[in-house]
Symmetry: C2
Subunit: 124 residues, 2 copies
């Protein structure tokens, strides 16, 4: 039973969920190598579609995602990774979760405050 | 502030999460029309990549997903939809969640039992 990377040109979506609170923190994409590295190292590793290379989450910020459990869906084309998130926030914009905007009256509105200053972590 | 449908040929991933338990139930894809219908009708609607058409989740089974809250991520290319799932299970294979297989010792193993008989709901 192998994951099916064929539907999105070699990638599968990976949903990252806090293993304690259940909050969905981000969604990234993994190719086969990123998935293998995630399993082997115990740290979530993605394939960056904009940079076209593997991306160890937290390699710059230190905010790594420690893998606690991995599940696959019925079609074997999506994974759910429960993690312990190191650092105050997962989002590179300074929020705990990348899903910090809520649809409210037809517009996206920030639904929470920043937990860290992204400039202090990532520079400019 | 508009969703960015350009990265996956007109589609964005939509993570479906139970609004009470926090369980991730499934991941589908939406095109702009599916997203609009989801917002307008209050029922999660996807774009089926295999059937190449809109797909109102539950149109066959009755197991609709009632939208409670929609969030977008920092890049505006993924949505998180919190729902009340009507019916015993979301997965067409008879499970509460599509993520019913857990990675265990390098292999995918069923980590829960079926909650309904898919043949009784979907026929053959």
């Amino acid at each position: 039973m192998e994951l099916d990377f064929s539907k999105l040109d070699g990638l599968i979506p990976a949903v990252i969920q806090d293993y304690q609170s259940g909050r969905v923190l981000m969604v990234g994409f993994m190719n086969e190598e990123a998935f293998r590295k995630t399993v082997e190292t115990g740290y979530a590793t993605f394939y960056s579609r904009t940079r076209n290379k593997l991306w160890l989450k937290g390699e710059t910020s230190g905010h790594r995602l420690v893998v606690k459990e991995i599940s696959a869906d019925c079609d074997l084309d999506t994974v759910l990774v429960k993690v312990e998130a190191l650092g105050p926030g997962v989002c590179h914009e300074g929020y705990q979760s990348c899903f910090f905007r809520r649809l409210d009256g037809g517009a996206w509105k920030e639904s929470e405050t920043r937990v860290y200053d992204p400039k202090a972590v990532y520079g400019n």
